[in-house]
Amino acid sequence: MRAPSRPLGAAIGAVLALSLSGCGSSAPEGTGQVKLTLWHNSADPAPLLEMYKKFEKQSGHKIELVSIPSDGFEDTTQTKWATGDRPDILEYHATVSGLLALNPAQNLRDLTGEAYIGRSGDLYRTAGSVDGKVYAAITGFPQVFGLYYNKKVFAAAGLTPPTNFTELAAACPKLKAAGVTPVFESGGSIWPVQILPILYLAGANQSNAYGKAIASHTSTLADPGSPFVSGLTAYAKLKADGCFNKDIVTAKFEDSMKALVTGEAAMVAQHSDMLPALLAAAGGDQKTVDETVGFAGLSSDKPLVTYAPGPIGTFYLPKTGDAAREKASLDFVRFMTGPAYAEYVTASKTFPVFKDVPDPQGVPAVLQDVKKAYDTGAVIAFNSDIPGMGGLAQLMSELIAGQKDPQKAATQLQGQVEQAAKAAGLPGW
């Protein structure tokens, strides 16, 4: 027997082992028709998908849909975007923070001056625009964040839905005593657990005051006793008081919808674009949803809903350098915001963003609740204008696991905001 010493072999073996660790084009068809690539959210509802087909039919252009899963939508879009790959049309968030991460001045076409902007009221003052330039075409009603609640559960317990966090905390023991999970949280999907703290902050963010203070660096998230720290503290207290489901760490948001419809849980903090998921949880039975589920605003101290312009139906036109495709993609935006939009509103039974388009008939009861709450008192999500807030959901996971206290989580998130704000060259940083 021999025992060889082979450093060269070891090095090659290591290199082999290392290798284990690493482990839109124009399509003119002779008539000016082109193929457009559209990166879209997999949660696009059927009426929106139908609009894409109508555009194809009317224009003769082809749309190649690239579906980005709604779970992890931001990460996946950013990852594709970072490779330098560009679609002709991008469906993405209209928030300023989402827009800044696309480096709009460099990568997106300026849509300022398009006719739909003047028909949208004040929408583009808080969304879809940076430095006075409009980059987005927003066709979807904003995502409205609030509390979905089970009407039957509340009626049986003799309670009314809470309108602030004090009432929410007070309702918990009574709902628990009735054998119901007071609030169902879905830490397994990660992103939903940031909604309750964002709702809490609506009270401090009227006229986007708090968001602007953080974005301009006149306040920080980690200031002692700041609204953000208070929001996280209120959340941690709800958890300590047993207000949440036992499987908070593993439950997915689909589970939360099911728990709400079946009455296993009394409340779920979610947004209005999740109505199709709610309907799916009810087996597609709209009547069950209307009879069972209501929607209400909630903040630290007032019955406010929080809104954020959502990704569904918000379109950007990345610069591609291909004149024919750029013309066709602008035609797409004009189609989506033009006369066909009224048909979309009617078919989708959502509320229009253009002043000259009437509300649809036959809107589901729960969506009427959403609109009513929105009209009564809506505040833009405090994080809409702050870049670098993408880590909030991950920090909430650590807060839930007891690894971080509210102050430490706020300090860490402030570091991420600083990192992004400096990179984005925001004034004040």
């Binding site: 073996g13 290591a14 290392l18 990460d75 993408g390 860490q412 984005a424």
Partner: protein
């Protein structure tokens, strides 16, 4: 004589060397600079910023935990997979009809997509899932800090043990029968035969399997992403999970620094490990 051997060896190694150079070494050398750059999605300019990305990751409490989780996970995966696979290989060494069926059965998970495997196991291990129903308990295997990392390592072992078992079986079948017979004649029992003859002669298979399982787990992402997403808290947040999160937030320089950390970790682990394991290799 040595030169002649080397000349004969090179043509056979050339395809592998070319592949590794083109698909690993060259991209690595071309991209390593991004780990030391200010690259973000927020602006077009990319400038050299030294160790700023590492400092940021340390300041945000991300790096130390990610390295610890990654190393722990790699050790767990390596230990579980090699223990299970060596046992299976000893049980299934003889080629027979029934053993072929079992070898195929244990190999099947290797063919399943890691993401699919993760999603299936996440369902099975849910608090109200099939595993808990069978055991008659209620436990969030993937949601409790005490069990999450070990559970994910077991899922990884389930996925890859079939392959590792085949390598051990090949190693076992390469041991001359005559040596074992001689040992038996000399009075060696089964345990002594294994310890003194089988295990030393199995060293090349052990080298390969330990290196592959350890290095594979150091670059873990898919199974973790599909099962825990890095949670609960940051208990399974391995380097590549943090890298994806940084990337998703547009911090490409920090993400590249994490990728570079994985590479350094692999080099720092794999080179000495393979060198040491090969030193103890013997031939019959």
């Amino acid at each position: 004589m040595v030169m002649r051997n080397r000349a004969a060896w090179l043509p056979w190694a050339l395809p592998a060397i070319v592949l590794v150079t083109v698909f690993f070494v060259a991209p690595f050398l071309l991209n390593v600079r991004f780990a030391f750059s200010s690259w973000t999605s927020f602006r077009a300019e990319i400038t050299w910023n030294g160790l700023e990305n590492v400092r940021t990751l340390i300041d945000q409490d991300l790096l130390a935990n990610a390295v610890t989780v990654t190393v722990l996970y790699a050790i767990l995966c390596m230990a579980i997979q090699n223990t299970v696979s060596l046992s299976l290989a000893l049980a299934l060494q003889r080629t027979s009809g029934i053993n072929t069926v079992f070898r195929s059965a244990f190999f099947l998970p290797t063919l399943v997509s890691p993401l699919a495997a993760g999603y299936i196991w996440r369902g099975l291990l849910a608090p109200d899932g099939a595993v808990n129903s069978f055991l008659g308990i209620e436990w969030a295997w993937l949601g409790e800090p005490s069990t999450a990392l070990v559970t994910v390592a077991f899922i990884d072992a389930w996925k890859w043990s079939g392959l590792i078992t085949l390598v051990y079986i090949a190693g076992l079948n390469g041991i001359p029968e005559s040596l074992l017979e001689s040992a038996t004649v000399d009075g060696a029992g089964p345990w002594t035969r294994f310890r003194r003859v089988v295990f030393p002669l199995l060293a090349p298979a052990l080298t390969f399997n330990v290196a592959v399982t350890l290095v594979g787990a150091l670059s873990a992402y898919d199974v973790i992403a599909a099962t825990t997403g890095g949670g609960p808290g940051d208990h399974t947040r391995a380097l590549n999970v943090v890298m994806r999160q940084q990337w998703g937030q547009g911090f490409f320089g920090s993400a590249s620094a994490l990728g570079f950390t994985v590479t350094l970790l692999v080099i720092a682990t794999a080179v000495p490990l393979v060198w040491w394991l090969r030193r103890r290799e013997v031939t019959a």
